[in-house]
Amino acid sequence: MSAPEPLLEVTELTVSYRRGFRRPPLLANNGVSVTLGRGQTLGIVGESGSGKSTLGDAVLGFAPIASGSIRFAGEELVGATARRRRELTKNIQVIFQNPYASLNPAKPIGQTLSEPLAAHGLAHGAAARERVARWLDIVGLSPDAAERYPRDFSGGQRQRIAIARALLVEPDLVVCDEAVSALDLSIQAQILNLLLDLQARLGVSYLFITHDMAVVEHMSSRIAVMHRGLIIEEGPAHEIVHSPTADYTRALLEAAPSPDPRVQRERRRERTTP
């Protein structure tokens, strides 16, 4: 029995940004390879400048790909036409970090949410309104939210709206780019639970990009650690977190302080006494 085809297969991906006159281009991704199965979550963890968000942008079609391949459900995305990329947004969606900036402040929520439905010809008029209302309910907001504006909502509520926008076209893959990083702990827990619940119900896959080791361990089946445009280490989440092989991964894990004061005191003692 052959292994089922992965939903997303990124091979030797190189993304390079021009930096202007006489400066060498920036290799934001330098030969990155990852795979993500259906209904699974692949965590991409790293610090700022590691290229983790660039990988998400490349999958979404927002990054200048220099070489390599991105296969989605067997289809090559590198070199796909703009029209095809647009069609693929039905299958590949995104949730951004900043829920304050990712919603147009001048448009009521209902309009923002019905845009993807109209763009893909999935529903119009009353049918679209009905579907928007159903999704507002799924993400835990009241149906009258459709008439209100982003400024009427808190950060956590806006992130719920962003989740509804990403999932109401029922995509196969959602890129979560630091989707909970701007949220408080108690709200973050609500949103993580919502994402897990939706995954269980819809079988959606997440490319979960974050800098937070605790969050990525909680959400992911596999984790890839990135540093300076390279994958340092990749494997099952438990292994990466509890028995990392790369020095960088270990440094990253140790740098994040434990909330347990006794554990943390022990760690500090170990680190600072030679």
Binding site: V94, P105, A119, V169, D184, S186, N193, L252, P259, R268
Partner: protein
Amino acid sequence: MNSARRYLRKPIAVVALVIFLGIVLACVLADVIAPYDPIAQDLLAANSLPSAAHPLGADTLGRDLLSRLLFGGRVTLSGSLIAVVVFIGLGVPLGMLAGYVRGGLDLVLTKVVEVLFAVPVIIILLVVLSVFSQNLAAAMVTLGVLGFGGLFRVVRATTIAASGELYVKAAKASGLNHGAVLWRHILPNLWGPVIVQVSLFAASAVLVESGLAFLGFSVKAPDPSWGSMISDASQALTRYPWLLVPPGVTIAIVVLCLGLIGDGVRDAVSREGGRERASGTRSTALPARAVPPVQSKALLSVRDLSVGYGSGADATVVVRNVNLDVMRGEAVGIVGESGSGKTVTARALIGLLGDGGRILGGSVSFDGANLGRLSRSAFARLRGAGIGFIPQEPMNTLDPVFTIGSQLREVVRRHDRSGKAATQARARELLELVGLPDADTVLRKYPHELSGGMAQRVGIALALAGRPKLLIADEPTTALDVTVQQQILDLLVELRARFGMALVLVTHDWGVLADVCDRAVVMYAGEVVEQAVVDDLYTLPLHPYTRALIAANPHGAQPGVALPSIPGQVPAPTAWPAGCHFSNRCPMAVDACRTGPIPMAEPQPGRESRCIRVDELELAL
């Protein structure tokens, strides 16, 4: 339309709009309302001043000035309209295209516009008019073409800015095509700037038309236009100066009105956008409470601190009755979520509340001196008396136009009143203290040349300049990567050990709290809800909120399993429940929790919890 309502609230702009529309309407209806034919001569009335028969007087040939003004306005205004239509028709689409597509097209269009800016407008207009004799329309089209560059640049810049917005990226990711993105998400951003540009250009078009008419290029005599009326008047300027007044004043009024309309629109739209709606305010009487006596042994002892925003009876209380003691050399963490009041509390301690923030009550003693009732000025004195402050984003608090050296030396001079050499030596010493060994290089750098971690070290050096006994740090590592955070926390721990400084650390991160602090003060919705040594707090939290918050941390939770989350969200200061502020989210809340303010309980020596069911919490676990 919020911006329309905001425009209507500006009386000057409304008056300008009404006058302008009135003039336009009068010109349009000239056939109906003009008392005479504009070219009919009444030589008996020639050069007359205003009278019942001729409300604005009559010119040298006895033609009624009001009638000429109304009919002449048609020529002037329609000419200006042609120029404006061309101006918008070229400027908006080309500007959007250049700003959205960028690349080669943008480069070409931008260069073309730059060339247009270098073209002498009046000379070209005169050339056009010499080819198309007396053809005002051709001249005005030319004016629009030559002038659209200004609008193009504004539209292009606005489009580029809007294209960078995350919601535009999100719309593209939703599958909208370029047309829909431009139409729905970018065009709405353009209205304000475009209307401002158009009003200014329309004003100059009126002036250009008048100028051309004055030179005799606009209409054939005897037909009127505002410019030709001025031309006629100038012939008899010394004998009959009144003739100049009606057309001159009309042109001035129209130009002025257009300018004021543009101003009003700019003000109306500049405040538009996703700003938070000002929340309603309410006055909250501060309930009288038993306040524990000031701790005489403490370095800093704050009693009954309350902070509000707004003034008088409308003040919204955001921090209520906070008691805080910091012992010498002790590290106290203030931990909580957004809206808990932790940052406001820390900022109040150094008298750095933002706009409208006020200390409503409380008292403080520091280092053995009772400073009495709290006020901004009392805290300002505290800053000099040994409290250093480390801000969250050091990059924003450093002045970008001065070197690190000059900013650090300024602070050192203020504290030490030292000479040049001593100041420089102290600045170098401070940088070495915070782990920037190549001090001379750093002193010469500008803030933008530093990394985030280096900038935070400089921020700490600035805080250390006054040899403080207490450092207050407001989320000092939140903006940093985790490995850089570790270095900064190491530095704070080391500095404390070396100088025996006390530390008040505001954070939302339980890991940072556990790493650096001895004791923690947990805040929720403007109140301290629990206070304990960090070990006790983590092993046995004695407030339902603390317990729920620790449980919601994914650290150490079972992967993939739902986290125990707290339903709802932190209430805004105007919506605090009457009783316990946490009662509407608390799984243990009973009726007694909702009736009145909850007193602080002392379940164990040295521990505090603002919960009436604290005994049950002690048993459960």
